[in-house]
């Protein structure tokens, strides 16, 4: 039987205003995790019932360590509580959950890894796995979209591919969206993997469809159970899904990564 794992917080750091970098000793989850999967974190306040689904930024199976980067949604929220937890604290979690990026689909093609905001962290694991798979970083473009100059993680991507940055305020890289940066840098891809806010994913899905580029997107939705039973976190699909028998799929169980052309944005 699968069960929750009792992890231990090793370190926690605010790497940008409101963005926290948490490392957790959780050997079972770390051993099984792959890029694009997530873990459910359970809070200590028993009145905050629901687990917080957080994407896996990186997993070190030999050390048994998960790295999770998340945005605090408010001082009095569950992520606020999480951000105040100190090294040595117990942190109960479930995972890895969901299906990650099918990186082998990249073959030898030119890949875009596209991330926006807190959608960026899971791409670090994806970029690392892609480099392991292909042995070279030359045909990987990593396009990262931020609000402003707080371009967390950007430097860590540098050994893994060509990093291109877009910011909403133009303080770093191209001013505008990730698509503005792709056009400005005249980039071209054979395969796209993306994680970020829904409008970004919708725009990328259109971009990919127009150019007939295979594209996978990691969707986000409010979750409850995290294991596919409660049907809270569905996304709309173009075709009737085999499990739900309606045009809905479960983000937590069938995703969070989907073929972009399956999704009705």
């Amino acid at each position: 039987m699968r069960k929750k794992e009792e992890g231990t917080i090793l370190s926690q750091e605010e790497i940008c205003p409101g963005i926290f970098d948490l490392r957790v000793k959780a050997p079972n989850a770390a051993a099984a995790a792959s890029a694009g999967q997530f873990v459910d974190l359970y809070l200590q306040d028993p009145a905050r019932l629901l687990p917080r689904p957080i994407s896996i930024c990186s997993a070190d199976p030999t050390q048994g360590i998960l790295r999770l980067i998340y945005r605090v949604s408010g001082d009095k929220t569950g992520t606020g509580e999480l951000s105040r937890m100190k090294p040595g604290s117990a942190l109960s979690l479930l995972g890895p959950l969901g299906n990650g990026f099918p990186l082998t689909e990249a073959g030898d093609g030119h890949v875009f890894l596209v991330g926006g905001g807190v959608g960026i962290p899971p791409l670090l694991q994806a970029a690392g796995e892609l480099l392991d798979l292909r042995g070279r970083a030359e045909n990987t473009d990593i396009i990262l979209g931020y609000r402003d100059r707080n371009s967390f993680l950007a430097r860590e991507f540098e050994p893994l591919g060509r990093v291109v940055i877009a910011t909403e305020d133009g303080s770093v890289g191209t001013k505008g969206t990730v698509l503005d940066a792709i056009r400005a840098e005249k980039l071209h891809a054979d395969v796209i993997f993306a994680c970020g806010p829904k409008p970004m994913l919708a725009a990328l899905a259109r971009y990919a469809q127009e150019r007939e580029i295979p594209c996978w997107v990691s969707m986000e939705e409010r979750m409850a159970c995290g294991i596919g039973a409660c049907l809270a976190c569905v996304c709309r699909t173009k075709e009737t899904d085999g499990h739900s028998n309606v045009k809905n799929r479960r983000v937590c169980k069938d995703g969070p990564v989907f073929r972009a052309d399956e999704i009705e944005f």
């Binding site: 069960k3 929750k4 905050r48 019932l49 629901l50 159970c225 039973a229 409660c230 809270a232 569905v234």
Partner: protein
């Protein structure tokens, strides 16, 4: 730990609450379903339902709101896939039935008549669908009428699931009994709302949702107590059960069996933990038979 629920023997009184456990498949990775008194499935209708737009859930302090809107694959797919899956386990199967009209409820109940299903739970109390659901569950005449109609078509014992969003739960319980119900279950969720004050928007796409979780438990215990004193048929208690002592509390209030709902989201193994804790409570209090707990609160 055996209890008799409307003529069906359960190996223990701990069941799942409809809508929180799917048809058991996902949770079977975390829980041996054969340890449960019964698995109560998510509501199933005569045809597939899409459910509501997202967000469908929101956390509130001590509880949560949901407005899933009874998304379900329809009775045909359910009979092909979910009943055969559940039949592999040594547990009772209670199918929760939903519908927009009396005819739709009856169609599903008829379809289940020759399936290996032990009990039916009729959801006349979902606060998240526009037609059917709670519309049937908040008027005693409608409760009695739909109970009678369903009872006529059903081969299995019929449990009517009641809404707490009423002035008198006793009237609803009596109406179900008058219509021929073999049991009642309560409470369904309490209608609630959450507003994001920084964005000045409703958190749920449906605006309102059903509240569940430990914050509603005192309301649920009170209603189980009142309902069980109003009728002779057995009562299934639910609403915020998180521990074995919570389960015992519902039984002391008058429940023959209990359903664990929101706790499954806090811990996928909550059902079996609660069962173990209930057994522990019995040991500590010198209770030899779980049936001794039913309605045993000192007056």
């Amino acid at each position: 730990m055996k209890v008799n629920l409307a003529g069906v023997t359960l190996k223990n009184p701990v069941m799942t609450a409809s809508g929180t456990f799917g048809s058991g498949q996902e949770f079977s990775e975390f829980v041996d379903l054969s340890r449960l008194g019964a698995v109560v499935t998510k509501g199933v209708a005569s045809h597939p339902w899409e459910g509501n737009p997202t967000p469908r859930v929101a956390e509130v302090y001590g509880g949560m709101l949901n407005a899933v809107g009874l998304q379900n694959p329809g009775i045909d797919r359910f009979c092909e896939r979910d009943i055969p899956f559940l039949s592999r386990f040594d547990t009772r199967i209670m199918v929760n039935v939903c519908g927009h009209t009396e005819e739709e409820y009856c169609e599903v109940v008829e379809r289940l008549a020759d399936e290996p299903v032990d009990l039916l739970e009729i959801n006349i109390s979902c606060p998240n669908v526009k037609e059917g659901g709670i519309a049937f569950g908040t008027d005693p005449k409608a409760v009695e009428s739909i109970t009678r109609a369903v009872r006529r078509h059903a081969k299995q014992p019929v449990i009517m699931k009641l809404s707490p969003n009423v002035t008198s739960i006793e009237d609803m319980a009596r109406a179900a009994e008058a219509g021929g119900a073999d049991g009642i279950s309560l409470i369904n969720t309490i209608t609630g709302m959450k507003i994001d004050v920084s964005r000045r928007k409703f958190v749920l796409a449906n605006k309102t949702g059903g509240m569940s979780g430990p914050a509603i438990k005192p309301v649920a215990v009170r209603m189980v107590y009142q309902a069980s004193h109003a009728v002779r048929i057995p009562v299934i208690g639910m609403g915020g059960i998180m521990t074995g002592e919570d389960a015992a509390e519902f039984m002391l209030a008058g429940a023959t069996a209990v359903s664990v709902g929101t706790a499954n989201f806090v811990d996928p193994a909550a059902t079996v933990r609660i069962l173990a804790e209930l057994e522990d409570y019995m040991r500590r209090t010198g209770t030899e038979d779980v049936n001794e707990l039913i309605g045993a609160v000192a007056e």
